[in-house]
């Protein structure tokens, strides 16, 4: 079934910072320094308050932004710009509305050395994996939000990436769809094991999904706390073990939230 035997590659982030220049020429640190080592096949979830720089972190990892300082290694290779090897699932789905469902999943396979038939076969296999094989020829506008995100997940896995970057992928969905897709994602990930960096502001989501949870502080975003979640999946997030962990995370998170709101009070443009 699985054409790839890889389980993804390790991701080594060392001394990463990102600084923005404001229009007034002021340098504003948004991120870092961040140093994290993600193992091959590990599911890491980054939690933090809005505006803490977690999306900046993901955009640097994806290659959309150049880091100000520091180094990112995928396996032994430094990253140079966006690449299918680090595929992305976006919060806004970012599907191409002029292509069919199948066309969207095939999009990333176009520049791989594959015949047309092989490309189609791979795309259909991943659509089957997310349960949308019957929608292959539908238009994107005909799908619900949850279905769109399943297409986006199929697109992201189909290119056989070493690392999967997920930017609050379920943030725009209702609570029940979200719950369903979290389970779906774990099922797919268990079959197509990859290194995953998943961004969210939901502690519950992190507890349900992660091998390891990283808590990011408010600007500049730094890793404030780190927890390994060893509870076997599927997890019951009401178990005493996870409730206890949740309490620890909120203890630190609340400090960060207080700081975030204090910053906002000082600087109305922050």
């Amino acid at each position: 079934m699985n054409s790839s035997t890889s389980t993804g590659k390790p991701l080594r982030i060392s001394g990463l910072t990102k600084t923005y220049a404001t229009r007034a020429g002021e340098m504003v640190p948004a991120l870092g320094p961040v140093s994290v080592h993600v193992e091959a096949g590990e599911f890491v979830v980054v939690v933090g308050p809005s505006g803490c720089g977690k999306t900046t972190l993901l955009h640097v990892l994806a290659g959309f932004l150049k880091p100000t300082e520091g180094q990112i290694l995928v396996g032994d290779e430094p990253i140079a710009g966006p690449n299918v090897d680090r595929s992305v699932v976006f919060q806004s789905y970012a599907l191409f509305p002029w292509l069919s469902v199948l066309g969207n999943v095939e999009f990333g396979l176009r520049y791989k050395p594959l015949s047309k038939e092989a490309r189609r076969e791979i795309a259909l296999r991943f659509l089957r994996l997310v349960g949308l094989q019957d929608f292959a020829n539908r238009g994107i506008d005909e799908l619900s939000g949850g279905m769109k995100q399943r297409v986006a997940i199929a697109r992201a896995f189909a290119v056989d990436p070493s690392i999967l970057l997920m930017d609050e992928p379920f943030g725009a969905l209702d609570a029940l769809t979200r719950r369903f897709l979290q389970r779906e994602l774990l099922r797919i990930w268990e079959e197509q094991r990859r290194t995953v960096v998943f961004i969210t502001h939901s502690v519950t989501e992190a507890l349900f999904l992660a091998d390891r949870i990283l808590l990011m502080s408010s600007r500049p975003g730094q890793i404030k706390g780190e927890w390994r979640v060893t509870t076997p999946r599927p997890r019951d997030i009401t178990s005493s073990e996870l409730v206890d962990l949740e309490r620890q995370i909120y203890l630190l998170l609340d400090e960060e939230l207080a700081k975030t709101f204090a910053q906002e009070g000082q600087n109305p443009h922050g």
Partner: protein
């Protein structure tokens, strides 16, 4: 049941247009009955219908329509060939936009009709002068809509294009920027055709030996208000049909964008 509903839905869209046409004809008839004008100034509707039939049957209306349409379509296509690529470039590159935009802003307020005298001086009353005027009329709506479409692309779509294999600007342009701008381009083509259609009539009024604008101008010269009105009605109907056709295209290619 379903069939009936379909017919009703269709009818509810088309009926208001027939109603509007009917109101225009009734008001026109009332004016004619009350003021009894010279038929050479304002003929009754029935006389215009007769002239319309006569000009259709003797082929004159068809020939004039063909001339006008031929000029508009060729000029509009030439306009699109330049305005669409230029608009896409301006919309996806800030520096190109900075260089080109002043030209656009300075030339755009000049009505295409204001170019007619220069067109006659430069090209005489041959075909190229009229094509030139329509070209200018169609150019700016196509250009500005295309620029807006290319600038308005969801940044996440561009990011997705980069992640999923578009590793050069050219690939990203071809596979994301162009298709994502398509709905806005179709809007530009529709509006551009409309302004081009208005411009060709004006150009033919002044400098032509055929075409619907000429039919109108000639009708005035020989005191045939019925021919003037036939020309105007033909212009209205054709403009409406083309706009409807483009709206249909828009609904076919008018995917939401995000």
């Amino acid at each position: 049941m379903g069939r009936t509903r379909w017919v009703l839905a269709r009818a509810s869209r088309v009926l208001p247009f027939f109603f509007a046409a009917l109101v225009i004809v009734v008001v026109w008839e009332i004016v004619v009955v009350l003021t009894k004008p010279e038929p050479s100034i304002l003929p009754p509707p029935i006389a215009v219908v007769a002239t319309f039939g006569h000009l259709v049957l003797n082929g004159e209306l068809g020939i004039d329509t063909a001339y006008s349409l031929g000029r508009v379509i060729s000029a509009w296509l030439l306009s699109a060939v330049v305005a669409v690529p230029l608009g896409l470039l301006m919309g996806s590159s800030k520096s190109i936009e900075h260089i080109i935009n002043p030209f656009v802003e300075l030339l755009r307020p000049i009505s295409p009709l204001a170019w007619i005298p220069l067109a006659i001086l430069w090209f005489g009353i041959g075909e190229s002068g009229k094509v030139f005027v329509v070209y200018i009329g169609a150019f700016f709506p196509i250009l500005l809509n295309t620029v807006a479409g290319a600038k308005d692309i969801d940044p996440a779509l561009l990011h997705a294009g980069e992640v999923f294999g578009c590793d050069t600007r050219l690939k990203l342009f071809r596979r994301v920027v162009v298709p994502a701008s398509m709905p806005a381009i179709v809007v530009g083509l529709r509006v551009g055709f409309g302004t081009g259609w208005a411009a060709i009539i004006a150009a033919e009024l002044v400098a032509a030996q055929n075409g619907l604008g000429y039919l109108i101008a000639n009708g005035m010269d020989i005191l045939r208000a019925d021919e003037v009105l036939v020309g105007m009605i033909a212009i209205g109907i054709l403009g409406f049909l083309f706009d409807t056709f483009f709206r249909y295209l828009q609904s076919r290619f008018g995917y939401g964008g995000r």
